[in-house]
Amino acid sequence: MPYLGSEDVVKELKKALCNPHIQADRLRYRNVIQRVIRMPKLDQWGQAEVLNFLLRYEPRSEEELFDILNLLDSFLKSSSPGVVMGATKLFLILAKKFPHVQTDVLVQVKGPLLAACSSESRELCFAALCHVRQILHSLPGHFSSHYKKFFCSYSEPHYIKLQKVEVLCELVNDENVQQVLEELRGYCTDVSADFAQAAIFAIGGIARTYTDQCVQILTELLGLRQEHITTVVVQTFRDLVWLCPQCTEAVCQALPGCEENIQDSEGKQALIWLLGVHGERIPNAPYVLEDFVENVKSETFPAVTMELLTALLRLFLSRPAECQDTLGRLLHYCIEEEKNMAVRDRGLFYYRLLLAGIDEVKRILCSPKSDPSLGLLEDQAERPVNSWASDFNTLVPVYGKARWATISKYQGAERRGPELPDTASFATSGPLIPEENKERVQELPDSGALVLVPNCQLTAEYFEKTWFSLKVAHQQVFPWRGAVHPDTLQMALQVVNIQTIAMSRAGAHPWKAYLSAQDDTGCLFLTELLLESENSEMQISVKQNEPRTETLNSFISVLETVFGTIGDIKS
């Protein structure tokens, strides 16, 4: 426990926040909070700590919630970024049912975040930029009028520049697109190749919305004839043509001449793919591919050779006269001389395909050349604020969601053991009282929520014995469509700490499964799932070794959630 001064109030706060009885007494609780946050001697570390504590509290009513928000409002204006961000997180989480409050808070925190973004401390700046990106995922226009704040300066370190480019890419809109693109174009010729490439990819990202301007800039960049730029531009073109077919013409005109400046595998693959798919619009496509075929012996990347095979075969379909000879040579090389089995098999496959007749080849190889719907799908990925509110002001945005997932998986494996989850991680992991049980808890303040214990290992014999000795405590029927995927179900149940004892094979009629779970008081839940083939219903029977209705109800609702989720996935 941190030192928050010796005041009794703090001790009271500690007690209050850990004790459901005091929490239940609204007036008392409010008094405690009011006194603590007004404590003049509470320094910024203490404030941050108190805000962290408050995350564990679930207000009883709307009125109380707004009381707390009003009390804490001054923290949003603190000069310490740690306190401001802590308060923001608390607001976002408390107001999870009031989107307009959340938006208000994010507007208020804009100033402090922007100040941190241009702060002298690079590390703070980086953390702030990561959080800006997080906010932009939900509110794309939030920082658009401040786009100039995210322009890079020459002396900034690499990792900040990369973050800023990402931010710029996300806040672009009709008004600032011209200026942002101008700025990004400046970065493309940066001394650092990594940064230049990141800038080009960023332009590629913006091109999904503002295609013409971006393609023009990218085409100009090809004029530089520098390897590291050309290869990235061609890769960007490949992705762009797939998502925005309207720019195909411009891309095809820009491509001739690029092959001289591409040496790496990724760039070559992209160029060869473009030549293969859109070769009929590029006059010298067969000859460029022919050059590649001539040098195929010295090609070090098998992926390039595979791409070349496919591209040449595609081009052969649209321009047979110019490609026949080259294709023959390439197939001969791949089948007779190539040592890489994947390439060799691909060559043999195409050879046999050609033997089957040209119509067959066309039927198999001519797939759609673009998929604009993919781009639209990606655009819609605006996430609600609530999906990341609990990650705000933690390390998650700083690492990035994807990296965090791998890290925490690793950590989870490390930690699992006899060790109990420590209190601090509990503090951040959610409110003391799970939301769905709130009403019930209000009626029976002493009964805790249902907590299922992980790793409850029952033997099949013990299960069987207990099953026959108990009476069915609850029976219910859930709607169910189609067959059951036992693996999916088992995995989903595992997540909520329900153990599978036995299960029928997929597709068996009737399909049956036996599940067991144990809560923290030692109460056992034994469940039978039964799916008759003719009904579209899953029948469940639950047996309990201690008759307690309220936990039984919670258990049923857990099961219900699991089935609901799986049903969603299936449909």
């Binding site: 426990m1 941190p2 030192y3 320094d43 910024q44 570390w45 962290n52 603190s78 000069s79 310490s80 970024p81 740690g82 306190v83 401001v84 961000m85 802590g86 100040a115 941190a116 241009s118 702060s119 002298e120 401390s121 690079r122 590390e123 703070l124 980086f126 953390a127 702030a128 704040k149 322009f151 300066s153 002396s155 990792y159 990369l162 973050q163 200026q179 101008e182 700025e183 174009r185 400046g186 010729t189 940066d190 001394v191 990594d194 990141a198 100009e220 004029g223 530089l224 004839r225 520098q226 002001n393 933690t394 390390l395 998650v396 700083v398 690492y399 950590q411 490390e414 601090a424 991680s425």
Partner: protein, 468 residues
């Protein structure tokens, strides 16, 4: 909650190591951290790294790495703030923060860490509270050397050019008073601004951004009250109007939590009881319209003969400061197209220097007097550079990859909007009148024909404060 804290020198040698919770590996984590830091792939940020179940969070300060490890998903903002607060504290107690001072004061540093953090939790970081617990005296390095004079410093470390004799306040520890009773009661107030400006190729301003702060270093006995008076014309926000003239306007202000603001609305007076040591009293931001002209203007012209591959860049730099002021350590950075092989130069002054490096041209101007105009003519050979397609053999259009230029500089004792510190005396009250100051740094992306522009980071220091 911190598991371990350590300080590494810029070369990775562990200077200080402290384990607060004993829950994770031994001393070799410091080495591990440095290995991870140096071996990091280019696109990942070093700020937060992890190994097994441990997160490393660090800041770089005065060439040192201050690293904290934790195994929890804690607030990055608080932790980074704590690390920079620790850096300030160590600076306060040891005089200045650096490899030398830390290794001379190891005992003091450990003592401090013991008091600041307990079992990984922050107890207090206030200089005032800590004073009561810290017994060790700081070992101060050489008190004064002529060598130090060459640089501009904060808190009274003035330059050679200034008329005032330099003070060693910037590197004096706060707590030397225990034995040395003759210590002067001094207060230093500085206005520091970081300015970034973006100028378009046609010379118009794209972005002006000023981050300013008023910093205070106090050697007064604790508990003495201080009043800082800002000029009454100091306006916050775009709409507010005070006094007669346009005054001094900033967009946003935030104050340190110990500042009492009762008189701020009416008389623009900040009241505080400064703890000994360094403190940021007020931070402010200003963007877009600056009240004064930018300190520099750059007029470039480019000649490029595509046939022979000869590139000629003529840069004229005009300093728009008042004649009495000057800019120091001005450095112009101009990215060049790839493949530049030779450089010949004609510079307007003997103390200037220009060189090629990192694919860019660096032009160093140690000192630029206000109102003066400097120029440099650079000729380079760029063989085999492709130009914009469809152009004739000789053209004035610059090749791609040239520019934008950026400029960095320091402006001691100057503020673009005229913010100054001036002393006032009163019985037992130190008061300072300080007017807002703004500075500026320019640059522009270079497009087609015209100007490259400048970008820089300027640092403006106000005058030394008085003593009460």
């Amino acid at each position: 909650m911190i598991s371990q804290f350590f300080i590494l020198s810029s070369k990775g040698d562990p200077l200080i190591y402290k384990d607060f919770r004993g829950d994770s590996g031994g001393r070799d984590v410091a080495e591990l951290f440095y290995r991870k830091l140096t071996g990091l792939p280019g696109d990942e940020s070093p700020v937060v790294m992890h190994h097994d179940d441990r997160h490393f969070i660090h800041i770089r300060h005065s060439g040192l790495y201050l690293v904290a490890t934790t195994s929890e998903n804690i607030s990055p903002f608080s932790l980074l703030e704590l690390l920079s607060r620790l850096a300030t504290l160590l600076g306060d107690y040891c005089g200045s923060l650096g490899e030398g001072t830390i290794s001379r004061n190891v005992a003091l540093v450990y003592e401090l860490l013991d008091e600041v953090l307990d079992y990984g939790y922050v107890q207090t970081t206030s200089t005032e509270m800590l004073r009561n617990f810290i017994q060790t005296e700081a070992v101060v390095s050489k008190p004064f050397s002529l060598f130090d004079l060459s640089s501009v410093g904060l808190f009274g470390a003035e330059t050679q050019q200034s008329k005032v004799a330099p003070s060693s306040a910037a590197s004096r520890p706060v707590l030397s008073s225990r034995s040395d009773q003759s210590q002067k009661n001094e207060v230093f107030l500085d206005v520091v601004e970081r300015l970034s400006v973006l100028i378009a190729s046609n010379g118009s301003l794209l972005k002006v951004d000023v981050q300013g702060e008023i910093r205070l270093k106090s050697f007064l006995p604790s508990g003495s009250e201080m009043r800082i008076g800002l000029t009454e014309e100091f306006c916050v926000g775009k709409s507010e109007l005070r006094g007669y003239g346009p005054g001094i306007r900033v967009d946003e202000v935030s104050f340190h939590s110990s500042v009492l603001l009762e008189e701020f609305e009416s008389h623009r007076i900040l009241r505080l009881q400064p703890p000994q040591g360094e403190l940021t009293v007020m931070r402010y931001q200003l963007s877009d319209d600056l009240p004064s002209p930018l300190p520099f203007r750059l007029f470039p012209s480019v000649q490029w003969d595509r046939g022979s591959g000869r590139l000629q860049v003529y840069l004229k730099l005009r300093c728009d400061l008042p004649p009495k002021s000057q800019a120091l350590n001005v450095r112009l950075h101009l990215p060049l197209p790839r493949g530049v092989i030779s450089l010949s130069q004609e510079l307007s002054g003997p103390e200037q220097k220009a060189e090629l490096g990192d694919g860019a041209l660096h032009w160093d101007l140690p000192r630029v007097q206000g109102g003066s105009q400097l120029s440099g003519l650079f000729q380079m050979d760029v063989p085999g550079l492709p130009g914009p397609s469809g152009q004739g053999p000789s053209t004035t259009a610059p090749p791609l990859g040239l520019g934008p230029a950026s400029l960095s500089f320091e402006l001691p004792r100057h503020t673009c909007s005229g913010l100054q510190c001036s002393p006032r005396r009163g019985p037992h009250i130190v008061s300072e009148l300080c007017q807002a100051c703004d500075g500026a740094i320019p640059r522009s992306p270079w497009s087609l024909l015209v100007h490259p522009a400048l970008q820089g980071e300027g640092r403006y220091t106000g005058e030394r404060g008085p003593r009460g």
